[in-house]
């Protein structure tokens, strides 16, 4: 093996401990974790090596490690660790550090890493949408809470889709997508070892592999079952499959209705036949689907939140990144539902206020996605695709 000069970095280790890996120094390299892991293949085990890299502060090794993404955080390793080093938490911390540093502007990553960054992160969309609200109120004769003559509330009267919501969100969405792609590309490059790699396993085109990854991960989430069926740890581990799947499908559903509405709205300008005008009638099929999606979102959130709270805090700690993501989704879901409720109840003040908050949170969800735990949607997919391309199953 090549002789390299090691650059141990205590600051990187410190960063990991702050990102949720505060137990990493307890590891004594027995490799129980690598044996316990139900996902780690026998010929490429983890997370033993990640633990020692973490301890030595080997940033390059850890951030270019594909295995941290393959971990689905079941916590078997933590349950079985004889030293209480909680490898699952350390793996999670390693991912958090990647979210933080992978893509520019890194100041966002830094703000995303701690609760003290929240006011600024919240403040940006809050001001943005406040300005929109203010400008639009001028169009309504200075009325900040316009009501139609029939008493109905139309959010579009203030947050007019064509000129406000759509351009801002499209810009946000595609901007985030661009940053994510850049991050994914960087990650992919860093996974690649120096020199050539001989692929031993099944070969195939990357699209086939991507399809398989999506089937396994998104459609059926079978990985969680592998996690759940891991070694007996003597502790009850609740499966995350149901909660996670429901949540994912809720997002898919909501993305679908958003797409339908967008298509109906913009497409309707060209083909009037498919035109959809909001607000939709509560019995409109698309609205029904949207509400089912919202309900699924809440169910998934409840399941996942209960699981996190019920988790044994000795061996599994939920870190700030976990709670941020759950929190922001909760905020999006609740403000979304309540803005509809208030709208239908014709409570004009609360309706606009909550809808305003809804926009703020949705913007936060999308704009900060590359630096949040939701980034795993992309980065884990990239990692899974990468290992499949190199003949591994995961």
């Amino acid at each position: 093996m090549a002789q390299c000069t090691l650059k141990p970095d205590i600051d990187f280790t410190r960063k990991l401990t702050l990102a949720g890996g505060d137990s990493l120094k307890k590891c004594y390299q027995c490799a129980t974790c690598a044996v316990a892991c139900p996902l780690a293949p026998a010929n490429a085990p983890y997370p033993r090596k990640e633990m020692v890299w973490a301890s030595w502060g080997l940033k390059d090794k850890l951030t270019s490690d594909v295995d941290i993404w393959l971990c689905h955080n079941c916590g078997n390793c933590s349950d079985l660790c004889p030293r209480g080093a909680n490898p699952a938490d350390v793996m999670s911390a390693a991912r958090n550090v990647v979210y933080q540093d992978l893509t520019a502007p890194k100041c966002v990553g830094s703000l995303m890493s701690k609760p003290s960054g929240l006011p600024i992160l919240f403040g940006i969309p809050a001001i943005l949408w406040f300005i929109v609200w203010w400008i639009r109120s001028l169009y309504n004769d200075g009325n900040w809470f316009p009501v139609r003559p029939d008493g109905h509330i139309v959010f579009g009267d203030i947050f007019y889709g064509d000129y406000t919501i759509d351009p801002i969100f499209m810009l946000t969405f595609f901007g985030a997508l661009f940053i994510l792609c850049r991050g994914a590309y960087k990650l992919w490059q860093s996974f690649k070892p120096d020199g050539a790699v001989a692929v031993i396993g099944e070969k195939g085109c990357w699209l086939c592999h991507l399809w398989h990854v999506l089937v396994d991960e998104v459609i059926f989430a079978t990985r969680f079952d592998d996690c759940h069926d891991g070694p007996k740890t003597g502790k009850v581990t609740q499966t995350r499959r149901v909660g996670h799947t429901v949540l994912v499908w809720a997002f898919v559903t909501l993305a679908f209705v958003t797409a339908v509405v967008a298509l109906g709205h913009w497409g309707g300008k060209i083909f009037p036949i498919i035109e959809i005008t909001t607000p939709l009638h509560p019995m409109h099929l698309v609205k029904i689907i949207a509400n089912v999606g919202a309900l699924m979102l809440v169910v998934g959130l409840i399941l996942l939140t209960i699981r996190r709270i019920a988790e044994n805090s000795e061996t599994h700690k939920s870190n700030y990144y976990d709670w941020y993501l759950l929190g922001i989704i909760w905020a999006v879901a609740l403000t979304g539902i309540f803005s509809q409720v208030f709208r239908l109840a014709e409570a004009v003040g609360p309706a606009f206020l909550v809808y305003y908050l809804h926009l703020v949170f949705v913007w936060m969800l999308f704009a900060y996605l590359p630096w949040s735990k939701l980034g795993h949607l992309f980065y884990r997919t990239v990692a899974l695709l990468y290992v499949r391309m190199y003949g591994r199953k995961g």
């Binding site: 002789q3 000069t5 205590i10 410190r14 120094k25 307890k26 004594y28 020692v52 030595w56």
Partner: protein, 754 residues
């Protein structure tokens, strides 16, 4: 001499269809008036008061209990007269198999061979008791004072402990101040619960406690000049700056500690070549002196580099020595004593555990003192943390800057303003170079006994502990079974002179050694032995009339118990003696005996066995002399687990194979035995012999015995010494049967029937 014996048969423990009444009748017929009482009791344990009554009423002076092994329920049968046992259970009925090798299915009537085996054992038992006496007392008036040599951590603990037990203490320290190595260690590894924190050594309090104790006399700048006498009444000559002081002491605790391994051994790792390479001891001193702590410190526990370099050097030296082999010197008589320097690279390896703990402590301190700005790398081959100090390990490693990996350190070199440490086979998944500002190497703890004569015994066998090279200079003799024991009864080693130890272990060691020293002191006062024959009140008695001053006993005694006068007449020191009988095994004139264990006694037992003249029809007869410490219990255990062996064997327990006198083998051969098997402990460098040298000496004597047998026209193969460990009960039956097969192949003893 027992003259009125009561023989009791424990029916509950015999069984096997034996005709016990017949055994009793045969014994009475043979011994006549000697046997005053014969009883078959349903259960011996319930007959204790009955036996006591018989002793009083019939004025018995010996009791022979036939039933279970003598190792069972011994505490039940403590009578005011001599008690002996006949093992009819484990080594007779339970281990019996038919002569053709088939298993014995218990019948109402025992087969002839089993009945005969039992009868032989009963007759042997009576003979043994008949030839056994109650020993006279060897009690001496003892000096209730304990000499502690060495005033370091262990010595101070021992002195305080002994004083608190009510004994006077003489503490001898070589240097001008107390404290030893701990003087330079204000902060040390844990000394007590919770075993996870660095602690202040608080040495000054420990010293105060000793110096202020009125029972303790401290001699500073003092070394031992001579120790003579025996436990309980030793006389210590102490060389001090004010001349020689003479003190009467009872027993001795050796706590002379260690000296650091010579720097030359670590030179291959850069020590002495660069100021950026230091030993752990030196680094500890640096920390104490408040020197600036570098940003990157490598603690290198893997010393393979130095080991390999020294191995090569040693090979080259050995080759040189081979070539320049000196002329074979003539048989030198009484070569003057020269202390061999036993310091070697091995001491570094033995010190790995102490260094592991020490380096964890130092690495943690580095990070603590710099508030985690410095990084401390620990590169280990074996991170060895003894026992509960695992808790310390956990705590010490849990510090951001402590970075550890198993690694083969292959090179340490100076590059520019820093050092580069090259590592292979690491846990990090790659071989790497590490840039550091300081390299800390482990300290080798070399026991003082490897370098110098610490006690200066005024013994006939010389001033030093024998065979120290077996332990690479550590003052030890039976590492596993008898800690603190040295080869000199009454002198107990504790602390790093015995084994490299952490300070908490040194304290435990000191206390353990004090208990041993006290036990020995009291035992001498009662005239009884210390381990392994604890409380045995017999001792060797010399019939000097026939002594030829050959000095074999003096030389062979594993414990140097015997001194001699100018003419060579042995001078016994009963309190030094551990009652193994090696002296009488050695004596060609058979002038040495114990009251209850002697040449004549075993000889008589051998002669009690009926040896059939017809080898073909009635089988051979094999005598097994089994060491009572390991071999005999192994046979018992084999019996208990229904392992069987040839019914032609007769087992006699002996105190140690060292006590086997050649005359017993002649006795057996002339009686017509076809083979003699000596079953004893493992010997050699990793001996398991309770008396250290017994089985080895026996093995050496085997050569002479073979020559004697050859002269007599008996095949020397008829006598074999076999080794067995106490846990090898499953192997010992095969060992016996193998020997029997070899004897059967040899045919009958030519002396049979003569």
């Amino acid at each position: 001499m027992a003259e009125k014996i009561g023989v009791y048969f424990d029916l509950a423990n015999i069984g096997g269809g034996l005709d016990v009444q017949n055994l009793a009748d045969e014994a009475t017929k043979k011994w006549g008036d000697l046997i005053a009482v014969t009883k078959l009791v349903p259960e011996l344990a319930n007959a204790v008061s009955e036996i006591a009554d018989d002793i009083a009423k019939e004025k018995l002076d010996g009791v022979l209990l036939c039933g279970a092994s003598p190792r069972i329920d011994t505490e039940l049968y403590r009578f005011p007269v001599q008690v002996d046992y006949v093992n009819l259970r484990e080594q007779c009925v339970l281990s019996y198999k038919n002569p053709d090798g088939s298993p014995y299915i218990v019948a109402d009537t025992a087969p002839k061979e089993l009945q005969e085996l039992a009868l032989d054992y009963v007759q042997m038992g009576v003979a043994k008791l008949q030839k056994s006496n109650v020993p006279d007392s060897a009690a001496i008036t003892t000096t209730p004072r304990i000499l502690v040599i060495g005033g370091g951590w262990t010595g101070l603990t021992a002195a305080k402990e002994a004083a608190s037990m009510g004994y006077e203490v003489i503490l001898v320290e070589k240097k001008g101040e107390l404290g030893g190595a701990v003087v330079n260690m204000p902060v040390v590894s844990p000394l007590g619960p919770m075993w996870d924190k660095k602690e202040e050594s608080n040495l000054k309090f420990k010293i105060q406690a000793v110096t202020q104790d009125p029972k303790v006399t401290v001699y500073l700048n003092a070394v031992m000049e001579k120790l003579e006498g025996q436990p309980g009444e030793y006389v210590a000559h102490i060389a001090t700056s004010e001349g020689t002081k003479t003190e009467a002491v009872g027993t001795v605790i050796l706590a002379t500690g260690w000296v650091p391994l010579d720097a030359k051994y670590l030179e291959p790792m850069g020590l002495g070549r660069s100021p950026k390479v230091v030993t752990a001891a030196e680094f500890g001193k640096m920390l104490v002196s408040g020197a600036t702590i570098p940003a990157r410190v490598a603690f290198v526990l893997d010393t393979t580099m130095a080991e390999n370099a020294w191995k090569e050097k040693a090979e080259a030296l050995a080759k040189e020595a081979e070539e320049a082999k000196p002329e074979e010197a003539g048989e030198a008589t009484e070569a003057p004593f020269v202390k061999a320097d036993l310091e070697s690279m091995k001491h570094l390896q033995y010190s790995n555990a102490v260094n592991s703990v020490g380096m964890l402590r130092l690495a943690n301190t580095v990070c603590e003192k710099t508030n985690d700005r410095s990084q401390a790398y620990i590169l280990y081959k074996n991170m060895t943390v003894p026992g509960i100090l695992e808790r310390f390990y956990k705590k010490m490693q849990d510090r951001l800057g402590v970075m550890m990996t198993k690694a083969d350190v292959t090179d340490i070199r100076e590059v520019g303003d820093h050092m580069v440490v090259s590592c292979q086979n690491t846990l990090l998944g790659c071989d790497f170079d590490l840039d550091v500002d300081l390299v800390v190497l482990p300290t080798g703890l070399v026991p003082t006994t490897a370098k110098e004569v610490t006690v200066q015994f005024g013994y006939r066998q010389g001033p030093e502990f024998p065979d120290l090279e077996l332990f690479d200079g550590f003052a030890d003799s039976n590492y596993i079974c008898f800690p603190y024991e040295t080869r000199r009864t009454g002198v107990y080693a504790a602390g790093c002179v015995r084994q490299p130890l952490t300070l908490d272990a040194c304290e435990v060691d000191a206390k353990g050694a004090v208990l041993k020293a006290v036990q020995c002191l009291e035992a001498a006062g009662h005239g009884v032995a210390v381990h392994p024959r604890a409380l045995d009140n017999s001792y060797p008695v010399f019939n000097f009339v026939r002594c030829t001053q050959c000095k074999r006993c003096t030389e062979e005694c594993p414990f140097g118990a015997l001194d001699d006068d100018e003419k060579g007449t042995p001078k016994p020191n009963p309190a030094r003696c551990r009652r193994c009988g090696t002296c009488f095994g050695a004596c060609p004139e058979r002038v040495i005996s114990f009251a209850n264990y002697n040449i004549d006694q075993i000889g008589s037992m051998i002669r009690q066995v009926r040896v059939p003249a017809d080898f073909k029809k009635e089988g051979p007869r094999i005598l097994i002399l089994a060491c009572e410490n390991d071999a005999y219990p192994a046979l018992d255990m084999a019996g208990m687990r229904r392992r069987t062996w040839s019914p032609f064997c007769r087992v006699i327990p002996v105190r140690c194979l060292g006590s086997v006198n050649a005359i017993w083998i002649s006795d057996a051969m002339s009686k017509g035995f076809d083979g003699v098997m000596l079953l004893g402990c493992k010997y050699g460098d990793d001996y398991q012999c309770h008396f250290v040298k017994g089985s080895e000496i026996c093995n050496r004597r085997m050569q002479n015995i073979a020559e004697t047998l050859d002269r007599l026209g008996v095949q020397p193969e008829r006598v074999e010494q076999l080794e067995v460990a106490i846990d090898e009960y499953d192997k010992v039956p095969d060992l016996i049967d193998g020997f029997v097969t070899r004897i059967v192949a040899l045919g009958p003893n030519p002396f049979k029937g003569m």
